[in-house]
């Protein structure tokens, strides 16, 4: 099992300080950037239908909103 050890070493090198309070991530740097293509995805809508990008987009594209929860 050479790979996991190497991976652990790599992580150890990349994170020399055991961060007690990690820097908050800036969500602006996460996920596909402007100019990149979003990953293919599939999910059920509220009626239980399978939906993907092609079934959701309009002629000029899609506004895809990620929200936290409709429950709380």
């Amino acid at each position: 099992m050479v790979l996991p050890i190497l991976a652990t070493l790599a992580l150890a090198v990349m994170q020399p300080v055991p961060a007690a309070s990690p820097q908050p991530l800036d969500p602006a740097t996460l996920g596909p950037a402007v100019g990149q293509t979003i990953p293919a995805f599939e999910a059920q809508d509220q009626e239980g239908r399978r939906r993907d990008f092609a079934s959701l987009e309009g002629p000029n594209g899609l506004v895809l909103v990620f929200f936290r929860s409709a429950d709380w």
Binding site: D45, Q46, N60, F66
Partner: protein, 277 residues
């Protein structure tokens, strides 16, 4: 849901709309019925799509937490091929840009301009992207200019004219972001042989503001008809190739009714349970 109100504006621009969360189909079905939502709400109970997009928020919500599996809230706007054209993410979860703000930035014009001012050199229509806003929301104040024929306003640059600038009065309940100007054009004034950046014709200046959190609004929300007044001054100088007007300032004001936060949950039987996905 604020998005529902913007559906028509998005359709006019040829954009589809969908909103995804880690909720079950049952929660989304109940929510869309209760809130009369007609666009697709997508269920991602195992956070598979959220992970594929790389926006799972595990830093704040580790496994076992009720909210484990939620994304950093935000919006991607793509073209017809799925290439990201713009994206909107805020630093903290309580802050989110409204869909109406997104439309205002995309050039949408409101049906009823809030306020119109005429000066000798331009007409100004000011409005806010939302006719009401909730704590944490990022909304856009819009200034639509229509310069009179031959007139130009100065953009900031190395020159002695007063550059167009919006100064909002600081206040505790609002974070004021940087104003966004359109691209200025170089204007050559032959008598002085100077070239300066100017704005001409019709153009839009936008100014984002983010409302403070619900806790900060607790007192205000107890008053009847709670509203937020954002006041400021527009500084500018306008000239043509014949006449140059003195530097001027115009007081401006936006009043935005403040909405209470929505605390209503789905029926208990289908609610998220802590530690269960």
């Amino acid at each position: 849901m604020e998005l529902e109100k913007q559906l028509e504006g998005l359709r006019r621009r040829g954009l589809g709309l969908a909103a995804l969360s880690y909720d079950s189909v049952a929660i989304l079905k109940e929510f869309s019925a209760r809130r009369k939502i007609t666009f697709p709400l997508l269920s991602d109970p195992a956070s598979k799509v959220i992970r594929a997009f790389g926006i799972l928020n595990e830093a704040d919500y580790p496994p076992g937490h009720l909210a484990h599996g939620v994304p950093y809230p935000g919006t991607f706007v793509t073209d017809a091929k799925g290439v990201v054209r713009s994206r909107f993410f805020e630093k903290t979860y309580v802050e989110r840009r409204t869909a109406a703000s997104l439309l205002a930035l995309a050039g949408e014009t409101p049906e009823a301009p809030a306020s119109e001012t005429s000066t000798p050199t331009f007409t100004l229509r000011t409005w806010a992207s939302n006719d009401a806003a909730a704590p944490g929301q990022r909304v856009t104040l819009v200034l639509d200019f229509e310069m009179k024929s031959g007139m130009h306003a100065y953009a900031s640059g190395p020159h002695g004219y007063r550059a167009l600038r919006l100064r909002l009065e600081p206040q505790a309940l609002v974070t004021i972001h940087e104003s966004a100007f359109p691209e200025a054009h170089p204007y050559h004034f032959a008598p002085l042989d100077e070239t300066v950046p100017v704005f001409e014709g019709r153009f839009r200046l936008t100014q984002d503001v983010t409302l403070a959190s619900g806790r900060d609004f607790a007192e205000l929300l107890k008053t009847p008809n709670p509203a937020l007044t954002i006041a400021g001054t527009l500084e500018y100088q306008v000239c043509s190739d014949k006449v140059c007007f003195a530097p001027a300032a115009l007081p401006l004001q936006w009043t935005i009714p403040v909405l209470p936060l929505d605390r209503e949950r789905s029926p208990e039987a289908i609610q998220h349970k802590p530690g269960k996905t």
